[in-house]
Point group: C2
Chain length 153, copies 2
Amino acid sequence: MNKKSRDNSKSPLRMTRQRRVILDELRKVTSHPTADEIYNMVRRRLPGISLGTVYRNLEILSGNGMIQKIESSGSARRYDGNVKIHYHVRCVRCGRVDDLPLSTLPVLERAVRKGCGYEILGYSLEFVGICPNCGKLPKTKKERQDKNGTQRK
Amino acid sequence: MNKKSRDNSKSPLRMTRQRRVILDELRKVTSHPTADEIYNMVRRRLPGISLGTVYRNLEILSGNGMIQKIESSGSARRYDGNVKIHYHVRCVRCGRVDDLPLSTLPVLERAVRKGCGYEILGYSLEFVGICPNCGKLPKTKKERQDKNGTQRK
DNA sequence: TATATAAATAGGAGTAGTTACTGTTATGAA
DNA sequence: TTCATAACAGTAACTACTCCTATTTATATA
């Protein structure tokens, strides 16, 4: 590396067609889609895109704070084009995720930061429940099997 | 079903040897092990047990509120023999999970319950950070690649 | 505008964690 | 003791994701 230094310590994000379309599609919706759903949305505009590319870009975009990664309940990861801090509710039946109007809680973070030995980077707060659609349907086989219903902290 | 009704709507949990040992081992530790770790703990006492049995029982025990399932940050699910409400910190590097001394927040639940359309069942609150051990080590390849560091809500 | 090069791509194989299936065994109510 | 059913072991299958390689592309610089 003897040429003019390229300063790759903070090289700007290269905006490929694929990356641009992924970001664009994600910002168009408020539905918090999974990688696979995004793959299908993007494929309508870029039929040749590969699923690996979608995963890689979602990882890079969220690593750069341009989108939000919602990884919470064992089920598939979801993504959110809205990067402002806000909270989510997830339906335990269908997995759907919605936004919650709830002010942020800096007090929480402060309470934890002192004295647990960890270097706290942040927290994830997610509510679980049953969405309006699923509330009308009968219980699933799995829910009936769980004798106490879902138990969460 | 014409015999004396067996009332299977709330049939008691059958306590098999496998189930008892799983519960017992889980209650002995405070380390929030994964299914695979529990499998290895239990195998020392029941060499013939199968991984499927461990998974099934962890599912049933948590469905009955006898243990807690911690499914949070994309990585493997973990389990906790302590069912009292409490919160966790997870290390983003090694995945280790520790308990947090933090009083509960009923206020949160009340705030959400009204007016989001969901039937709220509960919430999951998890802090992420870097544990004391990992804090001493250099960054991973993946962490260096993420130009902004980890971004969480 | 042309060129060099690091970054990103498609396609596909590989993996971890989990679930589902099948035939067998054990539990516990009667 | 009997018997229905729940739970079992063993294993195949599945889902969500990651990693690999050869090729292409975006961008900085000349």
